[in-house]
């Protein structure tokens, strides 16, 4: 049985039902321990003082914000190529989660930079890219809401997602070109050397990232199940009406 069988709506509902509670439990456990650990049991940074504690929510949310759109891109491609309903419904489910994570990343990023930049919002290229990404999320969600027919909506939003991705990357580099940038370099993944983030900060951060990823998966799975139920309800109603 190819993996596509697992993406069949009924089977998807089947295997996600037992998985979901565990996923929720794990996600909450990871996030709570990570935040408590990072908030209470790690020292202040010698330079930034206590604002370094914001790293535990800014970095994971920023990562999810970008990877959620990337996931939507992949699932939209799968919909266009293989016409798999669960795939496009997963993209529709992931959009609000990605948008929320972008809001968190934006707010925490602005607040984190505030002491250094002296203002609540500095037009820093990376933060600006997140703002543009947020607009893409809004457009994507609005297009879904504007179309009644489910299949047309799926096709059009998938095309928008593909084109949007190209322009999101373009906007990212345009933003860097436009303002040389005040943002602290990518502190976590600089060629894998964790020394840029002191050892003591690194572990809670990793745990928090894991927690956010699990939370993202739990939310997307739950919301996808919701979309499948709604599609099934309207399909049954349509068949009832036409009988």
């Amino acid at each position: 049985m190819s993996i596509w069988e697992y993406a069949n709506p009924k089977k998807f509902m089947g295997w996600t039902r037992p998985v979901l509670p565990w996923l929720w439990a794990l996600a909450v456990a990871c996030i709570v321990t990570a935040l408590v650990w990072g908030f209470f049991f790690t020292p202040d940074d010698y330079k930034q003082g206590s604002t370094v504690k914001i790293i535990y929510i800014h970095v994971p949310s920023a990562m999810i914000a970008i990877n959620a759109w990337f996931m939507m891109l992949i699932t939209s491609l799968v919909w266009i190529v293989r016409r798999h309903h669960v795939s496009v419904l997963a993209a529709k489910a992931a959009a609000p989660v990605g948008a929320a994570m972008t809001v968190i990343a934006l707010f925490t990023g602005a607040v984190w930079g505030e002491p250094m930049w002296g203002t609540w919002w500095a037009w820093d290229p990376r933060l600006t890219s997140f703002l543009v990404l947020f607009l893409f999320y809004l457009g994507y969600m609005a297009l879904w809401a504007a179309i009644e027919d489910a299949d047309t909506a799926a096709d059009l939003t998938s095309v928008l997602c593909l084109v949007g991705s190209v322009f999101a990357v373009l906007s990212r580099y345009a933003a860097i070109f436009w303002n040389q940038g005040l943002h602290q370099g990518s502190s976590v993944f600089r060629a894998g050397r964790p020394d840029s983030v002191a050892e003591v900060f690194y572990l809670p951060l990793m745990l928090s990232i894991a927690g956010f990823i699990l939370l993202f998966l739990a939310l997307v799975l739950m919301r996808t199940r919701t979309e499948i139920r709604l599609r099934r309800a309207s399909a049954l109603e349509a068949r009832m009406r036409s009988a």
Binding site: K10, H85, D149, D151, R232, A235
Partner: protein
């Protein structure tokens, strides 16, 4: 020149509407589609014309010889009669000859703005497009709506003498009698069962 439809199934808004439609038309033949409103005449014609993909089955006729005409006849109100027709002729790479205007009694209106025409005249202009583009296989959805008796006669003559006589094919959905000796196909028996397979939301049932 032929139109072969084998076991065609088409859907509207994700719901199967017609299944198992099969017929074959040779050059010079026409087919009248009958059936109550909503049975799927328009959906079938749009599927045959290629405007929407068929759910199942085959539609076979010479590539880009098909033309579709429906209530919305694509007439631009701010263009004159000849400009409208000349445009459609140019799009299909043909010249606008006066025969088409004469066939639909539009020669008198040649320079009138389409916006100033009556509903019947506008309808005749829409149908004259079919004469201008020179396509062999026509899919016509209620072509004679808002036409008076004389205009219906004009259209029937055009179909019989100019289109079918020169080896054209036509599938027409209409409620009135066009005076063509063409076979009729009642679509009621092909209506899809409510839970027929193939609808785009079938995976959710």
């Amino acid at each position: 020149m032929h139109l072969a439809v084998t076991d065609l199934a088409c859907a509207r808004g994700g719901l199967p509407v017609l299944t198992g439609v099969s017929f074959r038309l040779e050059a010079g033949q026409a087919l009248i589609l009958r059936g109550p409103n909503g049975v799927g005449k328009t959906t079938l014609l749009r599927t045959l014309a290629g405007l929407q993909p068929a759910m199942a089955g085959e539609v076979d006729f010479p590539a880009d010889e098909g033309a579709y005409a429906s209530h919305a006849d694509g007439v631009k109100l701010t263009l004159s009669v000849t400009e409208n027709l000349a445009f459609w002729a140019a799009v299909h790479g043909r010249q606008l000859d006066d025969a088409a205007l004469a066939a639909f009694d539009l020669t008198g209106l040649r320079d009138r703005m389409a916006g100033t025409l009556s509903a019947g005249q506008k309808r005749r202009l829409g149908l004259a497009r079919l004469a201008v583009i020179g396509r062999k296989v026509l899919f016509l959805d209620e072509p004679t709506v808002s036409l008076d008796r004389a205009a219906v006669g004009l259209f029937a003559d055009f179909l019989r003498d100019q289109h079918l006589a020169q080896g054209g094919i036509a599938v027409i959905a209409t409620h009135i009698d066009l005076g063509l000796e063409a076979p009729e196909l009642d679509l009621t028996p092909y209506r899809a069962a409510p839970d027929a397979a193939g609808g785009s939301d079938e995976a959710f049932l």
